[in-house]
């Protein structure tokens, strides 16, 4: 009896150890170079089956063909989970060689944690030749460049149904805020939902609306000035800007379930003809075009001018999209390989291919002929001036507060003064 149990115990222990050893043994240590070729690990968020991602993945493949001596070990992670994975692995000091990142609040902690390498020496290639330096600066912290932007997004485009707006008496889209309010009131009176909003994720009200509206009233320098201590959120201009948000909510400009649906569902309301307008970023364009029912006349406009506002009325809030950064621990060998990759990827061809599928680019390249008319309209619309997007400039904590604050204002649970106070408190 005893023997049987002992042998069972031994067998169990042996099995366990074998399992453990096998587990350890299976793990290949990734090497810098094997047989002369250089391997670069590369993380991006191009996992979705979208035309834009297809373009990028094609370019990566083309690069591999042209440069067989460099192997890209690529991993595509869905954008929603990218943050989580990046932060977890960063905490464990296990970041890849090439890291896709986003500007502003996403970039800053990476730089402050010392995980990214400054690339000023490489960036000269694009600076002011293909990419204007103020756009490039989106990826600069304290004067040092950390990534090259791949696309550009404007967050605040008003997509409107030309027929529905014309029926409310506006053949041309309103150019002043006062007229805009008239439009909203008329639509609401006819029982048509003026603007489709999907704010479940909380950032739309901030990124899509507040960023441009705020700019109209406070001017583009405001955020920087507050962060530098020269101005406060509790100053009149900001409170007024928040006041516009509150006003729109009071006029019933938004659908009542705005905070429980996401912007996908909101765009559906627009397509189904329930709402006359849908405000969202340039990313929504291709989806709207492909899903629009026959005969729907979609127009694009920007938020109208606000009287007495300090901002340029032609501005649209926008920010560079993703960019690829380098791991600070890269060897010289790998850095060279990465530079070759950058030169290939951030080229006129790539940018034009992106535009071909309806994506705006940060580079000064010609718009290809065969893009849709609506896209060309959007390019023109956004060419006048760019204003900052709040969540790209503010630190994460402040973004949190304004996101929640705007949601609260939209359901009457808070006031512009209160939110302004909360934000200022967090700055101090």
């Amino acid at each position: 009896m005893l023997k049987k149990m002992m042998s069972k115990a031994i067998a169990l222990t042996v099995i366990m150890s074998v399992l453990l050893l096998a587990a350890c043994g299976n793990n290949e240590k990734s090497s810098g170079s094997k047989d002369g070729s250089i391997e670069l690990s590369f993380w991006n968020s191009w996992s979705e089956d979208s035309p834009e991602n297809d373009v990028m993945l094609e370019r990566v493949e083309a690069f591999q063909k042209e440069h067989p001596e460099i192997t890209l070990k690529m991993e595509s992670i869905p954008p929603d989970q990218y943050k989580t994975k990046l932060k977890t692995q960063a905490a464990g000091k296990q970041l890849p060689d090439l890291i896709q990142t986003w500007p502003g609040a996403e970039l800053r902690p990476l730089v402050e944690g010392g995980v990214l390498m400054p690339i000023d020496d490489i960036a000269g290639e694009w600076k002011d030749t293909m990419i204007p330096s103020d756009i490039l600066a989106d990826y600069a912290i304290d004067g040092k460049q950390y990534a090259i932007p791949g696309n550009k997004v404007f967050t605040s485009i008003i997509y409107y149904d030309k027929d529905m707006v014309a029926k409310a008496g506006f053949e041309e889209f309103p150019t002043t805020y006062e007229d805009f309010k008239v439009l909203v009131e008329k639509l609401a009176k006819e029982d048509v939902n003026p603007i489709a909003l999907g704010n479940k994720a909380k950032w739309p009200l901030q990124s899509v609306y507040m960023s441009t509206i705020g700019d109209r009233v406070t001017g583009s320098e405001f955020l920087e000035q507050v962060l530098a201590g020269e101005k406060k959120f509790t100053d009149k201009e900001f409170v007024d800007a928040l006041g516009i948000m509150a006003e729109l909510a009071e006029l019933n400009a938004f659908n009542s379930d705005a905070n429980s649906i996401d912007d996908n569902q909101a765009s559906d309301y627009f397509l189904q003809g329930k709402s006359a307008m849908f405000v969202n970023g340039t990313w929504a364009l291709s989806g709207l075009i492909s899903s629009a029912p026959e005969g729907k006349n979609i127009g694009v406009a920007k938020f109208p001018a606000v009287e007495g506002g300090k901002g340029e009325p032609g501005n649209v809030s926008g920010v560079t999209g993703w960019g690829i950064a380098l791991n600070s621990e890269l060897s010289d060998e790998k850095k060279e390989a990465a530079t070759t990759f950058f030169k290939f990827l951030y080229s006129e061809e790539t940018y034009q291919n992106l535009m071909g599928v309806g994506t705006l680019v940060p580079a000064d390249v010609e718009v290809p002929e065969d893009t849709s008319d609506l896209f060309k309209e959007v390019v023109d619309l956004t060419n006048e001036g760019i204003s900052p997007v709040y969540d790209a400039v503010l630190p994460a904590e402040l973004t949190d507060i304004i996101n929640n604050g705007l949601q609260a204002i939209s359901i009457g649970q808070s006031t512009p003064e209160q939110v302004a106070k909360d934000m200022q408190a967090a700055v101090e």
């Binding site: 932060k87 905490a91 905070n259 609260a408 359901i411």
Partner: protein, 291 residues
């Protein structure tokens, strides 16, 4: 005695495999997480020891207490919703009748469906403009009762709780089903015989026999409710205006959005303590003095 000697070794061998894996891959990470809770850390830079500061900051945050309140709603709704319904279902469907098998399978389905599908379909019930519930109310002339089920802070939590109850009834259902197998069949059938007194017998015989499983399920329910995350995250993301925010969402945001790992770990310690407290209370209330 001879048997006792052998027992000790056998017990050791029996428990060791589970203990090794569990201690290494569950307890150790938990302990490390507790260690973090005394630190301030953004994940990238160095960790700074801050003692109890995280705990104090959490206790001072009104949003945290809102989350606690919401969690209590979930616990109450779950315990008083999922367990009784699951129990009734298990008692009803514990039969070898063809129809019963189909109903049992269907009863379990919600547990299997992904939270994305649940969120989308229940959204269609709750949608204030085109959702089933409101359309139904209007259709039968009760239009005045329509609400903004998910968008109105007053109703959001209740709506979410109903969905949570629905989602997990199936789980306790099969636990009770399994437990009922321990009850001799003749007893159950005999107890179901005549109308009202049949139910009385169910209450006085069957239920006491599976009381341990009921207690287990309540504890499971409490611990699960305090950790609830997935469904609420997808359905309402804690909104609107924190009205459906629960502790696990609060913790997730602080850890991965605001980048405060120490703070997040401290929140999970609070969850842990609340769970222990509620479990202890429920054991006091429900534990039978078994001889």
């Amino acid at each position: 005695m001879h048997i006792l000697q052998r027992n000790k070794l056998a017990i050791f061998i029996g428990l060791i495999p589970a203990l090794i894996i569990y201690l290494t891959f569950s307890i150790i990470p938990i302990v490390i997480s507790i260690y973090y809770s005394f630190m301030e850390w953004n994940g990238f830079g160095p960790m700074e020891f801050v003692g109890l500061q995280n705990f104090i900051d959490i206790a001072k945050d009104p949003i945290f207490w809102k989350a606690v309140k919401n969690n209590i709603y979930v616990v109450l709704a779950s315990v008083f919703g999922q367990i009784p319904i699951a129990l009734v279902l298990a008692l009803l469907l514990n039969r070898k009748v063809k129809g019963a098998k189909l109903f049992r399978t269907i009863g379990f389905m919600p547990v299997v469906i992904s939270t994305v599908v649940i969120s989308l379909t229940w959204n269609m019930f709750y949608n204030s403009e085109i959702g089933f519930i409101n359309r139904f109310l209007e259709g039968i002339g009760l239009g005045s009762l329509t609400q903004n089920w998910l968008g109105d802070p007053k109703w959001a939590m209740i709506s979410v709780c109903i969905t949570i109850i629905w989602q997990f009834v199936g789980l306790y259902f099969i636990i009770f089903l399994a437990a009922l197998q321990n009850v001799p069949g003749e007893v159950l059938e005999a107890a179901e015989i005549d109308g009202a007194s049949g139910w009385k017998r169910t209450i006085f015989i069957t239920i006491p026999m599976i009381w341990d499983s009921i207690l287990i399920s309540v504890i499971l329910c409490i611990s699960g409710s305090l950790r609830t995350f997935d469904l609420i995250y997808v359905m309402t993301n804690g909104g609107p205006a924190h009205s459906t925010e629960v502790m696990a969402i609060y913790m997730y945001e602080k850890t991965f959005s605001s980048m405060k790992y120490g703070y997040g770990s401290a929140v999970s310690l609070y969850i842990f303590v609340f769970s222990l407290l509620l479990i202890w209370i429920s054991r006091l209330l429900l534990q039978r003095k078994s001889k």
